[in-house]
Symmetry: C2
Subunit: 340 residues, 2 copies
DNA sequence: GAAAAATATCGAACCGCTTCGAATAATTAA
DNA sequence: TTAATTATTCGAAGCGGTTCGATATTTTTC
């Protein structure tokens, strides 16, 4: 058996509670006893047991991380990166992160992570589009919540979001500046706030530069936002009598699918068709040509979410600020801005 | 405050310990009281608190999942998939999975996950090549360990491994059967047992079919096993006076890099150069042509590892079996077996 | 120099559950 | 019918920490 606080107390010749005070940096401990205790701790290689602490303090030191499973199964390690960011930051604050995936539809029996039932987390980070019902359930259970990359139509929540509107706007402006006048939009389900914002950004850019909004150039509500979806959508757009000369896709997968469609249509990217994606996933570097895209700082989102939730946990506050994270245009080959 | 076992006991009019017996399906409980208690539990919506249980039983219900961080940062969600497999299976056994990443070099101060110090896991799954020192440290701490996809040169450990030798053998035989005689090998650091086994499998296939082993066709010890590594290695091989007509890469990233090299050398894949990879990562579907590869069942590895560790935890046994997982050849466009 | 205030340490209660021996009730064996 | 089993329930003692009120010791204040 590994040593307990009692062993330390005995060895140091002090009371158990004194040891506890030393460990927790309580006030009113003399240097002398502090040293004695620390020495005993060192010699015994003592580490307080988390479980005992949890019971006594009623703080678990755990943060739940909930992710809609469909995101985790997709190829891009987008959310994995976010998770990694949380894990890293959580470690600094001495928290563990418990990851669970849930199905998108809410099911009171299955959707509620065990750790909520078992009172085993101090706060929960919800990532991507999970069901609003689940979000509400957790919020109502009184436990702090932070949302990442999703925001329900109703309600107020602390959240870390991508500045989607601005990002999309910049991406499209970039294309416009390169001389494009017919810019297609390829996007996922528009009822996802992120996508809808990106669509707005697209529209805003067109407007601002006095370009017509042509609905035939818009392929939205693609169900999976997958490469396949992008491929099919792009193929359709490219068959128009006057096809677009540039495409803005709301994620890199679809952008990659578009590139494939262009190649099959014997079009050269970027000369015949410029393509800009969104997310900056790793693979986007490996396409031919490499993809120009809006980078989303994934780890950073995780980091900020953890800071936010730790703050909420510690302070007991109920603030609901949104944090908007700026994206960054990464210019590679697919938009034609860099002449090779 | 949510209800505790006391509340249930009071409501049901029984002793606390009786409630506990009902919950834990102890023997010697009459139907009548069982029903009474269950009713009270239902009405109060009672859930035992994990932390209290942990303290009382000295079982945490947690499994540690340790991963060398460099793996997690790479694009392919290979280990993510494995992790997902563990999380899924762990849930079934009512365990949580705590993920930590560690640096590859062992550092007694930083490498040892907190949950080990804090006695907060019942067992640990180590994935990929982490330092042997860490593995030993954990093993010696007396806590059950299961390794996934790595096995140190010395020592005995329960493990879940890919049948790398057989897999590589089959991949190369596939190329031989397609008529190739000059087959290149592109591989990562050979001191990784998986890679070394794949190299052996490669050699074995050549031998068996009476093909010469030509060291100029072998590019091994590529440091990162990245697409870039594969690209550079392939470029070199393709510049030989008599270049290979086929390449076997020890992972898909390198295979993808090889395809890029071929394209740049104006070689058509698979006609001028056949390529077979290993792993079957998602992106491999999206290359042009799609990659033929050996599929590694990632989720399955995670599942098996969890089953194994739960067994070790429950039984207290110290078995050290290796479990070899078979790979499966996925024939797509890059090997030339399917005529398009 | 005595009262008041601040500092240092201790003991005991408590967090919410499990578990084990004791107590009681119901059955069975003799 | 009584002793011996067996089934059922209970009470109390942990598990390993934290925390708060009490006590003892110093230091400050006037």
């Amino acid at each position: 058996m590994s040593p307990t606080i009692k062993d330390v107390a005995r060895k140091a010749g002090v009371a158990q509670s004194t040891v506890s005070l030393v460990i927790n940096e309580g006030k009113h401990i003399s240097q002398a006893t502090r040293q004695k205790v620390l020495k005993a701790i060192r010699e015994l290689n003592y580490h307080p047991r988390r479980s005992a602490r949890v019971l006594a303090t009623r703080k678990t030191g755990n943060i739940g991380f909930i992710l809609a499973d469909k995101y985790f199964y997709q190829a891009e390690p987008f959310y994995t990166r976010i998770f990694l960011g949380t894990e890293f930051e959580a470690r600094k604050h001495n928290y563990y992160v418990l990851l669970t995936t849930v199905h998108e539809e809410f099911n009171p029996k299955k959707s509620i992570p065990r750790y909520l039932m078992e009172k085993n987390v101090d706060g929960v980070i919800l990532t991507g589009k999970v069901s609003d019902a689940l979000i509400l359930y957790i919020k109502n259970s009184g436990i702090p919540v932070v949302l990442i990359d999703y925001f329900p139509k109703e309600g107020k929540f602390p959240s870390v979001l991508i500045d989607n509107l601005q990002g999309a706007y910049e991406a499209v402006v970039h294309l416009i500046r390169l001389g494009h006048r017919r810019i297609g939009f390829i996007g996922g389900t528009i009822d996802h706030p992120s996508i809808s914002d990106r669509f707005k950004g697209y529209g805003q850019a067109l407007e601002e530069f006095g370009l017509p909004k042509n609905s035939s150039l818009v392929a939205k509500d693609l169900p999976d936002s997958s490469a396949e979806d992008g491929y099919r959508a792009a193929r359709k757009l490219l068959k128009l009598s006057t096809p677009p000369t540039a495409l803005f896709a709301t994620n890199d997968s679809m952008a990659m699918g578009s590139i494939r469609a262009a190649r099959e249509a014997q079009l050269k990217v970027p000369d015949d068709l410029a393509v800009v994606g969104f997310d900056d996933i790793e693979v986007a570097t490996h396409t031919h040509p490499p993809l120009t895209t809006m980078r989303v700082p994934k780890e950073e989102m995780g980091t900020l979410a953890v800071r936010k939730i730790v703050e909420l946990i510690d302070s007991g506050d109920k603030f609901n600020e949104k944090t908007l994270i700026a994206t960054e245009l990464i210019v590679r080959g697919s938009c034609g801005a860099t002449k090779v």
